[in-house]
């Protein structure tokens, strides 16, 4: 795994529970304890109500492909061998929209509107990325 050359996420104290949960095969997002709004980014205060108290909400991790783009341009050296590769925007059920990759799926089935389920991809010892596959 030490030869992994793609960009890795920035981890800090605030977002560590998110990454730890992914290692355990769970999709969680930081949530305001006061207004229940989820946030993708671990801002200290709730962007919606300003409250500082938080909890972590677990989602099923299923969702729907909202849009797609296929990268032919090499922007990161680590992706050079993979172009063209596809980035998807996934609308999570009861959750936010996130960028990710669709894996383990026939290319013809990667379409906007397709239902997806989570795939937990352990790319390094510390980092498990949340990816998706189209549900059969």
């Amino acid at each position: 795994m030490t030869d992994y050359t793609k960009p890795l996420p920035h981890m800090d104290e605030a977002n560590r529970p998110y990454w730890q949960a992914l290692k355990e095969g769970r999709v969680t997002f930081l949530t305001c304890a006061s207004c229940d709004q989820m946030r993708v980014y671990t801002f200290h205060k709730c962007p919606h109500c300003g409250n500082e108290d938080t909890k972590w909400t677990e989602l099923p991790g299923t969702g729907e492909i909202w849009s797609l783009g296929r990268f032919h341009q090499v922007y990161f050296e680590g992706f050079r061998e993979e172009v063209p590769y596809t980035v998807a925007i996934v609308q999570l059920d009861d959750g936010p929209r996130v960028y990710s990759n669709i894996v383990e799926t026939d290319v013809d089935d990667v379409r906007i509107g397709a239902r997806v389920e989570p795939v937990f991809d352990p790319v390094t010892e510390d980092v498990t990325l949340l990816k998706f596959r189209v549900q059969p």
Partner: protein
């Protein structure tokens, strides 16, 4: 809405620009000074007449003032994002209208081509707080976000690649008539489809052209502008909106709701309707942005922008001649400034082969997480 009493109270007195292309050895300040001196010559003023200054993409107003010996009463600097050009012109109009200054220079300098500016990869900050969070998935660049917006538009409305191609083909036809444009060879539908994808569904022809260059505009009061060398071009109306929270993910409505508000405010302030317009200058960082702008501002029904552009409406001689210079896709990516320059030249009748006949009202539109529009007129009211 900005106060309707400001309609036609501020005018563009002079415009200047550099050549566009590869201009090695020129800093953003150098390019800005080149354009500024052209703009001063255009209106018959000298540097000493300037008492207001906003620099854009030029990082440091203090160094710029040292380099030009300009000592303004009012000074500011705006970020080097294309959405800021319209906003900068609006700030300037407000500064003139409120008496903060009498003659304001807006100076833009961009050495992006020689400096190797990149809009994707590890330096990418598009999408605010979240931008870099998606690098592990290979997601980066404003172009990719617009590619996904267009893919979504295709999914919802059946917009086709052939329809989108008409945006870049039409603007290239305009550029062929513009000696200042960097890319002037016409693009056929075959050329378009044969060209490489950057982020599919977008081809290279759907991306703006990063170049070196500078643009400057001199604004003053309508009364004062009437005494200058050239015919004034009046700022009839302006409006702004934003959709910044959550803007790392494309908006559900292609910015339709805020754009509609911008459009209605700018029309009300300027006292005009869409059918009065002689032409439009639409921010074309990527060709789909033109579709979203047309729908959002109400030039065509929702979902029908593809057919609208394919029917030739944006061409010279069409119902809404758009980006008559070739725009960012073919003239040069001067981050909105060159489009505003073109609006002024069209209203003065200085556009030669690509002149829109009897042009008297032109709307500038920029659709982004920060939206602006300006309506320029050859008459103040």
């Amino acid at each position: 809405m900005p106060n309707k009493d400001l309609r036609g109270k501020v005018a563009v007195a002079g415009v200047g620009r550099t050549t566009y292309g590869r201009l090695p050895g020129q800093s953003p300040e150098d390019l800005g000074i080149w354009a500024l001196d052209e703009a001063l010559d255009d209106c018959g003023l000298s540097r000493g007449d300037i008492d207001g200054l906003i620099v854009n993409r030029i990082p440091d107003y203090q160094i710029f003032c040292e380099m030009t010996q300009i000592s303004p009463r009012f000074v500011n600097v705006t970020l080097g994002q294309g959405r800021m050009s319209g906003a900068t012109i609006q700030i300037a109009a407000m500064a003139i209208a409120t008496g903060m200054c009498d003659v304001i220079a807006l100076v833009y300098g961009n050495n992006g081509r020689s400096a190797g500016a990149k809009y994707g990869g590890t330096g990418d900050r598009y999408g605010g707080a979240g931008g870099g969070a998606w690098f592990p998935y290979g997601m980066t660049s404003p172009g990719a976000a617009h590619a996904m917006m267009f893919a979504r538009h295709q999914h919802l409305y059946g917009t086709t690649a052939n329809q989108l191609a008409h945006v870049s083909m039409t603007f290239r036809d305009h550029a062929a008539l513009n000696p200042h444009a960097v890319m002037r060879t016409p693009v056929t539908i075959e050329n378009y489809h044969a060209s490489r994808f950057i982020v599919e569904p977008l081809h290279i022809f759907d991306y703006c052209l990063i170049n070196d260059g500078g643009v400057a505009m001199i604004l003053t009061s309508a009364e004062r502008a009437r005494d200058m060398k050239k015919k004034p071009v009046y700022i009839r109306g302006f409006a702004q909106e934003t959709r910044l929270p959550g803007s790392d993910i494309p908006p559900e409505d292609f910015w339709r709701e805020p754009l509609a508000r911008v459009a209605s405010e700018v029309e009300e302030m300027s006292g005009t309707t869409k059918s009065d317009l002689s032409a439009a200058m639409i921010y074309d960082n990527f060709s789909p942005t033109v579709l979203f702008s047309l729908e959002g501002c109400g030039f065509c029904p929702v979902g029908e922008s593809g057919a609208f552009v394919a029917d030739g409406n944006l061409a010279l001689g069409g119902s809404l001649p758009t980006n008559t210079s070739g725009g960012h896709l073919s003239e040069s990516y001067m981050q909105g400034w060159a489009l505003n320059f073109e609006a002024v030249q069209q209203l003065r009748g200085e556009c030669g082969d690509r002149q829109v006949q009897d042009a008297d009202l032109i709307q500038y539109i920029c659709a982004a997480p920060m939206m602006t529009s300006i309506i320029y007129g050859s008459d103040p009211t």
